[in-house]
């Protein structure tokens, strides 16, 4: 997958409303909300209690792990302990013989497609025989039983035979030709390029050029509630009550994996104990569907914390090479960026995260010449997916550090260099978007400076 965004040069072409960049039309303004502020229906500027607040402060709110259905079973999954291997066989008979164990499912039991993924369907629900394990934590077999204790006894009795493969744990190494391949014949999942003007020529002519490498780490969301759900077949509908941020997607994936129409799947998002992006991916949904389908009984699955940390997607670790150039007054002339994001074993939201990182790589600043490349790269590390900010916090760390270094090199105040470069009404971003309204960055910087002075945080 590759995306190139090149700013279209349209000399002499006026954008609509260029004469009134704020698009301020008092009549339109007043009619926009269409709600009389005194009617009692206007919520803007007022505080209201959460609709689910009373249930949450009294303990009545039902999270997935709080649900209990008659005849309910429990499910646990056996996960790989090796990062890269070919799965040769799974022997489940001994586990199935443990008292209280009702079923042990493998990939062969999946009636539909054994793959999930929001952007690329590259992740198995359960790794099939002859298929590849791509990370520590890949699900291999699903045990269903009368109690979690029975499952804890049963899971270690499943015999796993696999052939280890060389693994790759560095995103930079993964990009090399010689690296072990996680999927297909290249570990580069996607590339996003943003090109504006001529960055190289601008760099050559600049007064000051700063080049640095920035790296950021993997981050676990650590929502207080681990992944959990309960599946049951109710009136012919496969119904899954689950802690999720993405019920519509969950329904599509469960239907695909089970080989049934979406009209036969119902996903209910119950009270969800934090997500922060980490509950946008499939966790227990398809496993629960399989367990309920196979046994015909309601099934509950709750990840222990350790499993949540092992199995859930993380924030992408980034390696960012920045070169920023400015003139003598500190005005940005060019920014060149190369971002490598480690998406781990599966794409998850990786391609979108790296695309967004590229789009935001120049920060809230006007930069006439830009060359940005962002690579989303597979490794045998834990999968990285969506997390608050979607790649933007990583690049913010880098572009703001660059601004400080430029200011320092030019003897400029760090507030001043930002004010000289930040977006204003009518500015054009690196991707060619003209900002018509709501550009508050300069005002924000000024007020932050005032506040910092007030609090004695600035010397001057």
């Amino acid at each position: 997958m590759s995306l190139e965004i090149r700013e279209k040069q349209l000399p002499g072409v006026k954008f609509p409303d260029e004469e009134s960049p704020g698009r301020e039309d008092p009549e339109r303004e007043s009619s926009r909300s269409g709600v009389d502020e005194d009617s009692g229906f206007c919520a803007i500027g007022k505080s209201f209690p959460r609709v689910d607040g009373a249930a949450k402060v009294t303990g009545r709110a039902q999270f997935a792990a709080d649900l209990r259905l008659p005849g309910m079973l429990f499910a646990r999954v056996l996960r790989s302990r090796v990062p890269h291997a070919v799965l040769h066989s799974l022997e489940t008979a001994e586990a199935l013989a443990v008292p209280g164990v009702v079923a042990v499912c493998t990939a062969a039991d999946i009636p539909g497609q054994n793959s999930v993924g929001i952007i690329v369907k590259d992740e198995p629900v359960l790794v099939g025989i002859g298929e590849r394990i791509r990370r520590v934590g890949d699900p291999l077999a699903l045990a269903v039983g009368e109690s979690e204790e029975a499952l804890d006894t049963a899971l270690p009795k499943i015999k796993v035979d696999y052939e280890p493969l060389p693994a790759v744990f560095s995103a930079l190494e993964a990009m090399a030709d010689y690296a072990p391949k996680v999927h297909g014949d290249s570990n580069i999942q996607s590339v996003t390029r943003i090109i504006r003007g001529d960055a190289d020529s601008a760099l050559a002519a600049a007064r000051i050029v700063i080049s640095r490498r920035y790296t950021t780490q993997m981050v676990e969301h650590a929502y207080l509630e681990t992944e959990a759900g309960v599946a049951a077949i109710e009136n012919g509908l496969l119904t899954i009550r689950v802690s999720t941020q993405n019920p519509h997607y969950d329904r599509r994936e469960v239907a695909r994996v089970m080989g049934i129409g979406q009209h036969r799947v119902r996903i209910v998002q119950v009270a969800t104990g934090g997500g922060f992006g980490g509950k946008l991916d499939i966790s227990v949904q398809c496993l629960l569907a399989l367990a309920a389908w196979k046994t015909g009984r309601p099934v509950k699955m709750v990840y222990p914390r350790e499993e949540s940390v092992i199995a859930s997607p993380k924030r992408h670790p980034f390696i960012m090479d920045y070169t920023s150039a400015a003139d003598g007054e500190g005005r940005l002339l060019a920014v060149k960026v190369r971002i490598v994001g480690d998406t781990g074993a599966y794409a998850s939201y990786g391609p979108a995260t790296l695309k967004r990182a590229a789009v935001h790589a120049t920060g809230p600043y006007e930069v006439p010449n830009v060359f940005i490349e962002a690579f989303c790269v597979y490794t045998n590390n834990p999968t990285a997916g969506a997390m608050r900010g979607f790649g933007v916090p990583q690049v913010a760390f880098a572009h703001e550090s660059q601004m400080d270094l430029l200011a320092q090199a030019l003897g400029l105040d760090p507030f001043e260099i930002r004010l000289r470069n930040c977006f204003k009404t009518g500015s054009v971003t690196a991707t060619g978007q003209r900002l018509w309204a709501g550009v508050g960055i300069a005002e924000t910087i000024r007020r932050a400076r005032e506040k910092a002075r007030e609090l004695g945080m600035l010397e001057r």
């Binding site: 607040g53 402060v57 009294t58 303990g59 792990a65 969301h221 650590a222 929502y223 207080l224 934090g274």
Partner: protein, 162 residues
């Protein structure tokens, strides 16, 4: 496995059960008594979501063997609202916007109750210390600290604290 007798007062009600001696207090509350307001976040005493009051003191119920709690007074989040009316701490959490996902909320409110029962006018540091065993990933704690201040004012019957 042999069973032991578990006799305790939970939310001012007597409870008398036969339980396996290796059960956690958390599981007896959630599974045997249906008091699912007490949450399990980590199962190893790090997050505080399973906080209950044992003779008025906050404990992680995932680290308490149920037989250890026999013969004691236990308060869970379900025991706070009396006669269908929210406890002032519960009101304060709602009004201050201290509730987001709600998973840490029961434990946080009980940690606050233990503090305010002992120290009705805590300063910011005392509040932070009291909830230092309770993790929250949504709020950033600022509104939780504000809610506990508001609760202190409400309990003291101050004007404007409603």
């Amino acid at each position: 496995m042999k069973t032991v007798r578990f006799k305790a007062t939970i939310n001012n009600r007597p409870v008398d059960l036969l339980i396996a001696p290796n059960r956690r207090l958390l599981d007896v509350l959630r599974e045997d008594l249906g008091l699912t307001g007490t949450k399990e976040g980590c199962g190893e005493g790090e997050c505080g979501a399973c906080t209950v009051l044992l003779d008025g003191r906050p404990v992680n119920s995932c680290l308490v063997l149920a037989p250890e709690a026999s013969g004691r007074q236990i308060t869970t989040i379900e025991g706070l609202a009396a006669d269908g009316r929210l406890h002032p701490i519960q009101e304060a959490f709602l009004e201050a916007g201290a509730v987001q996902c709600g998973f840490c909320t029961p434990g946080m409110i009980l940690a606050a109750k233990a503090l305010l029962d002992e120290n009705p006018r805590p300063d910011g540091q005392a509040i932070k210390t009291a909830i230092s065993g309770n993790l929250c990933r949504c709020t950033g704690y600022v509104k939780i600290v504000a809610a506990i201040r508001l609760a202190a004012a409400k309990l003291a019957g101050e004007e404007g604290a409603r």
